[in-house]
Symmetry: C2
Subunit: 408 residues, 2 copies
């Protein structure tokens, strides 16, 4: 007689329950970018990877004073439910700032929890599975993700040093019949490039001719190093009604506060509010009223001028340190504002493959391939110059130069 | 020769540009509920419509102290980018509270901007167009919207005074093969009903047998009037791994701060973080650290005990005032916690049609039809008892009684 032990069937191992995952997120449990940011966060690494403001430049005392003001004078309201459209004071302040470039009323503003939520709200409101979105090549990858999880297909449009090429845009519209075009005209992420006024007019002409709407993302436009202002494409004749213009306080005041807004006109404003309500009901009322108070009572322009003065020095430090260490034939951009510089090393280089050695040498960047909807330039890298002092930037760039030399 | 004026074609009127709207939001530019809330917000109306906490009960001084603490001691971090998963201190506090009922680690927590975003994140992660979601009949309508915009079809399951009927749930699962089941077991919205322990066990048995995941929404569970605690269904054997348990600080501390969390286990935690990042990058770091500080340094239990004592008096006032004015054959629920009471007047009544007269008499409620996925009880209404004092409640209920009598 077999023993009870041998006769009993082996205990079926407990199969853990697995949640079904929607196709839009299948295979996205981890990402190479997340791993890069984890590496870049090591204390022994100087990171050019993220677009992370230097926290020592935050207007902390002013912001704390505004939180205190709101909680002391409007506490019960700040802690209560608010409006999906956003709190009126903040919409008024947003409209006032936007009106420098484009007449805007508070009714044309929808508040979002940072411009990432703004992009997601816009995608919710507009996109169907299978829609094509035309993007700059390269473009901002988190926007691509917000569109992609709505089933959109991204098609990259060729760019030069002045941004998207009007002829290429025209051809792509005729070929792909896109639902919308997504552009970052000023101090673009990842390249740092800016579209001159003439190019903006050419692009607007193409969009108007084909009646295609635009999402114009402008989180960096006020970070100008020479004080010049670049009016949004939305401000060109005929464009305001067909553009969702996205703004953010993350790069001007604080990313941790998570406040941005969308400017729009017409019935789409209602849809944006309904989508926002479905996604997150409303943005933090405490944060909204605090940002409104900050814009009303403090001098954001003076703060931005002080910060961009420091950013300009850091851009100079990074550009200056990179010039002698880049291989012959490499290209780097010359950003007049914003946070990013873009380097393309040339065909012999693979920026992703080189990253492990760079991190071992104590310096990190973001490989550029991830910013392309298609046909990535694998030799490219995005380097943020805003986080570190010129001394730290120069030392780290020197170490990066040695790694590049080894890979040449 | 015709004059130049008559020969020229009439100027084509400028056709305003119309943004394309995704099918998921088509026709949702306005909603009857939004109109109701606008009416209910009139200063001459006592509103039972919204689940709006009485702002005089907010722990304003404590919360302001926590904002001040965070900005003074951790200001640079609070204003900086954070983690999509949520800040560690807050996840630890959330885990500590949940562990009273269900052992939970900080790694099992995902922070969201209120539980509306939690529901949306879960829908993003799990739902495909055409999926069926089983819901209580009636159920919380904003959850239904978060599911519906992902293309899901809601099927209502019959309930009694103890919540969803296990046999009906079993039949519905076999008939509809749902992707998930959505339940609010404790002090349900809209009915105020609570599932007893035995019913929870029967429901868990059905879900385990069919291997169907559960979204368990628990924003009200701690608002108990007799101090009794209701352990979540997620705490029953086998259920924690197949449940997304949703919690919110909106009803316990402040809805304006917009902080909630999801408890989950296993690989779905990664998908939830990726979805959260696509939707809004991360929740306000200032608000997260402030809520963490509040949970660490203040006595939320004592605050909740004080608030629920007042809510209980208000429930008594509303239930007591309604009893004599409801028609024969009407049913009202007897909630032991939460914010809502549910009245079903009987076939002769249409709560939507009656609302205009009620508002004219200075009292508002939410017609119940909107809480049904199908087969609405049009005579039903949801009444929140938390916003007003007993005196105000009694006076308004008296006026409502006159309106009901006119419609009988």
């Amino acid at each position: 007689m077999p023993s009870p032990l041998s006769s009993s069937a082996p205990a079926r191992p407990h199969a853990p329950f697995a949640f079904p995952v929607a196709a839009r997120y299948a295979g996205m449990e981890s990402s190479p970018l997340k791993d890069i940011f984890a590496l870049a966060a090591r204390p022994d690494v100087v990171s050019f990877a993220g677009g992370i403001p230097d926290p020592s430049l935050f207007a902390l005392a002013d912001i704390a004073e505004c939180y205190d003001h709101v909680l002391r004078l409007h506490g019960s309201r700040a802690l209560q439910y608010g409006q999906s459209e956003g709190e009126l004071e903040l919409r008024e302040q947003a409209a006032r700032r936007l009106s420098r470039d484009l007449p805007t009323s508070a009714e044309q503003i929808r508040i979002t929890s940072g411009s990432q939520e703004g992009l997601f709200v816009a995608a919710e409101a507009l996109l169907e599975t299978g829609d094509v979105v035309l993007v700059e090549s390269p473009t901002y990858l988190a926007a691509v993700q917000a569109f992609a999880v709505h089933g959109a297909r991204m098609v990259g449009v060729q760019t030069d040093e002045h941004g998207v090429l009007p002829d290429a845009l025209d051809r792509a519209i005729r070929t792909h019949r896109p639902k919308l075009v997504y552009l970052i005209p000023t101090f673009q992420n990842p390249t740092g490039r800016t579209m001159p006024q003439e190019r903006r007019e050419q692009v607007a002409e193409v969009l108007l001719r084909h009646d295609v709407p635009l999402i114009e993302d402008d989180p960096y436009g006020e970070l100008s190093f020479d004080g010049s202002r670049h009016r949004p494409i939305a401000a060109l004749p005929g464009m305001s009604e067909r553009t969702l213009l996205m703004k953010s306080m993350s790069k001007l005041m604080s990313p941790g506060v998570r406040i941005g807004w969308i400017r729009a006109e017409g019935p789409i404003l209602q849809t944006l509010a309904v989508a926002k309500a479905a996604i997150s009901m409303q943005s933090s009322v405490v944060d909204q009223l605090t940002v409104a108070r900050y814009l009303e009572a403090k001098d954001l322009d003076a703060h931005v001028a002080s910060v961009t003065g420091i950013y300009r020095e850091r851009r100079d430090a990074l550009a200056g340190a990179l010039a002698p260490i880049l291989p012959a034939g490499a290209h780097i951009t010359d950003p007049e504002g914003g946070m990013f510089l873009w380097a393309s090393l040339g065909e012999a280089y693979d920026a992703q493959a080189m990253l492990a050695d760079a991190v071992a040498a104590g310096v990190a960047y973001l490989p550029g391939w991830s910013f392309f909807a298609e046909n990535p330039d694998r030799s490219s890298m995005r380097l943020s110059f805003v986080t570190h002092s010129p001394e730290v930037i120069r030392a780290a760039a020197g170490r990066l130069g040695e790694v590049i030399a080894q890979h040449g």
